[in-house]
Symmetry: D2
Subunit: 297 residues, 4 copies
């Protein structure tokens, strides 16, 4: 470790910087680069021209269609899913939402012309929690089908894994092949990962609503990036609660009704530990927002 | 071959049927089953309960969003893409359409609740042709991302291969991440197969239209199923021109404007042989129809 | 129907051929093309240069690694899976094999340099059956992850659907990350389709064997290609039992031991109807063969 | 920011910890968690039982087959790909390796029985560089097809993106469908991402070798995890050069010969900026190692 420190010191010196902060922080604490990094970019991979990175700097604009269901799981299971710093919300023990979203993303105005890059589908849980007495939503699990989305998510603290997520779509023409967006319209949504079905819902619309039942509380995530150096494997350099800052949140076409919801057990997954004991409203609607910042709690 | 015929005769006799038609047809000509088949289903796999087949019997209902562009390729290349029985349409040599469609399919009313089964994306060419003096559209190449769709396509004569097809989506809320469905709205679409980009378009909407420029002619396909028995490898039991019967065709939200279009060469593909020398209108719209029949020409 | 026949007659006449055979066969019976087809290829899509087809004419060469297990299902379920013309094999009611194979394919000597095209993974069942008193194997269900393989399979009568199939690999260096090919070596294999796990096995090797327990009987398939014309939807133009002709079958590195095997129910599947009531030997080995012909029974 | 700090202080106090280090570090510098985290795991997602994380703590065991080629790119392009702290290696300007590897991973002894989890394929560049006068290899770009592998890679500093990577396989039986592992044996390998082919090689074996030409130098990576809080977007909390520690590295079956190598340009990629101006040896072989530690430089 001393040797590593020494190397870092020399490296930083060579690069014309200083290592004071790094030296003080110790090897288990990451430090800002001591010298200006000549590679460009925001996330990995940094590169000569700065266009190869999975995600460039914000602002990040999102628009999508959401289908989901409100549910209650066992309160002790919900409590066990919370990180240190969050408490169960006593108002509604075990309460949360399962949401499937077909997203389109754009940082620059041309991004949405490249759908392989800009489109992705997502499934996430948002569980009621309390942060210092404030009602918040905690996302214990989330899956997406796109690596750029995964990278942005990790930076926000969303613990994204890769899965396959699909939802019924509505179209602008009548057809027996699609539901109406209206009373009695039905929408299904499914999520699989590792070749196993992990979650599914079916929602029946009943009436319009001002906004989606989910996304009514600020989302608290846990930004976390571990250390691999042997002595630091228990002291992650990044481990911090964050609160999402969603600018310019808009919703439209929101319908609420009934729904069912099922989670299925699988190795290497704990989603089914939060399986519904009761299902509340089902919903569907469109939403958009912009991410430009994050509160570190 | 005699031995095979004898076996088929015995097989049919064992099964309590007759083999008159089969005997007369000869080994290279497929015959209707001489005895009732106890397995159920429409396409492969036939099975005990008849639910495992990739596609059950029609009616098949489709609804989708299409993005595409009109184009002209070299007239000799267009002519070379036509099967025996179709001629170039002298009215507009080398003219055709490249269309990307996000489909949702349903045979039964619940199918669209299972998006993994019912949704797929498609890219196809529709080239002007003439069948006995009638203006028709010929589909030389088509890709989809779903095996059930591939099976239905083969039965119709659409020569579907598996590819990855994506198109820009529009949503019900304003966002920098999505285009407007209106003047100046831009939509991109791409198709890849075998890990190679094969086609892409970008369309800019300008004005509404009554209907999509493509899909104005009956589609003629070539149903084709080869024989593997050595003596019959040059005499396919199914090789017939067909004309699609699209019931209840509806279109909505159709916009027309300008577009670009590019095809890229790849091994095992001939799409780029039909590469655009000129691009006409670009378009986007929704459509639905039902398939219940096919004309054998 | 008369009208269709007339059209075909005219079409053939225009093309300079004759329609005698086609006329005699009737509309529900497919006919060899009356005029030489100017498009080239073996399977769809036929094309100007004949390189776009999913599968060119045989010979087709295959080499692969197989992992699988012997099993017994309920005899009535096994019997119900058989097509007309095949009977249960009274010697061993309900007996069959579940086999996972990682294949590499080549028609030409360069094909294996294009692994995206030439490699695929497969899962299939081979159930004991009797054809006119001869012991054969019947393949009720099979999945692959490659469209070219699917096309070749349909031509052979293998009722292939698209799935995701994986098996444990062994490597030429020792590692805790891989099994030995030897006594106590363990191999897992899994198959998923539609985002659902459908089958899995774990095999423990015990001793070498001369050959794989599966693939000891000729495989009988049902070539089947339906008609979509309304009047012919119940009279498929191709519906014939076939017997695979595997030239130059070689096996190596075959080990036999014990295994477990599980099938899981899913909508649109009947695999679990054939679920194991008992599991016999597990096995692993390499094999190769060439397909150049098919017997039509 | 003060408010955020205050929140973190209160949070930590509530949780029974102290925030001294965090307070001192400032909001832009990540800190070890002030209170013990009750969620378990190593990478995201942390969870109640600690089994949902993409990667658990090391040791991580790897075994695989590698195919690749030595190459030279323009020295200025190679130099531009280096992070601050690394210099070009003057001994062989522009020199590096492109390597395709089919991996199998296991942390526990049962992991390799779950091939969907444990198997993945990888493509990476390893470019000659100098770290304080020591000859090292720098990995500017790397793609894998598995999210658990991506997570482990980020922790090591490998800037992994998701791609599709395939290589020709050799099997234990003779076949026209597979190459020999021996003189004149040919192996192809390809990499695609975002539906575009990005890299391909073909290697012809000539003679055996003691070890793979690549992997002869320690690999230096850049661990990097950015901040999303607006004020910290230019000061990543983790940004450190690292040196891989590969325990128990073994190689076998190594062959060296000739090769070709091509990179293809694509939006959002800079791989082709490092395109080969000359290609050296091609190679193929098996390797295994264990990762349990990382040197922070």
């Amino acid at each position: 470790m001393d040797k590593n420190l020494q190397r870092r010191t020399v490296l930083a010196a060579m690069a014309g910087g200083t290592v004071a902060a790094a030296t003080g922080a110790g090897p288990a604490m990451a430090a800002p680069a001591a010298a200006p990094e000549r590679l460009k970019g925001y996330t990995l991979p940094l590169s000569a021209r700065g266009v190869a990175n999975l995600a460039g700097k914000p602002p990040w604009n999102y628009v999508g269609d959401a289908v989901g269901a409100e549910f209650w799981t066992r309160p002790d299971a919900a409590a066990a899913s919370l990180p240190t710093g969050l408490d169960p919300d006593p108002a509604n023990p075990g309460h949360g939402y399962a949401v499937f979203i077909d997203w389109q993303f754009a940082a620059t105005s041309d991004d949405y012309l490249d759908p392989t890059f800009s489109q992705y589908s997502e499934f996430l849980l948002l569980m009621d929690a309390s942060y210092q007495g404030t009602a918040v939503a905690w996302c214990p699990f989330i899956w997406v089908d796109n690596d750029a989305s995964l990278a942005r998510g990790w930076v926000q603290g969303f613990p994204k894994k890769i899965g396959q997520i699909r939802q019924t779509r509505a179209f602008a023409v009548d057809s027996l092949a699609g539901p109406i967006v209206g009373k009695s319209g039905r929408f299904g949504a499914t999520m699989s990962a590792g070749g196993r079905r992990l979650a599914e819902t079916t929602v029946t619309l009943d009436h319009t609503a001002d906004r989606l039942p989910a996304l009514t509380r600020p989302i608290v995530n846990l930004r976390h990036f571990p250390q691999l150096a042997l002595s630091g494997q228990d002291t992650p350099p990044v481990h911090e609660l964050t609160m999402s800052v969603l600018d310019n949140l808009k919703m439209a076409n929101t319908w609420v009704g009934s729904g069912d919801l099922h989670f299925f057990p699988a190795p290497r997954e704990e989603l089914a530990d939060l399986g519904p004991t009761r299902v509340g409203v089902g919903f569907r609607g469109s939403l958009s927002y912009t991410v430009n910042d994050l509160k570190i709690l």
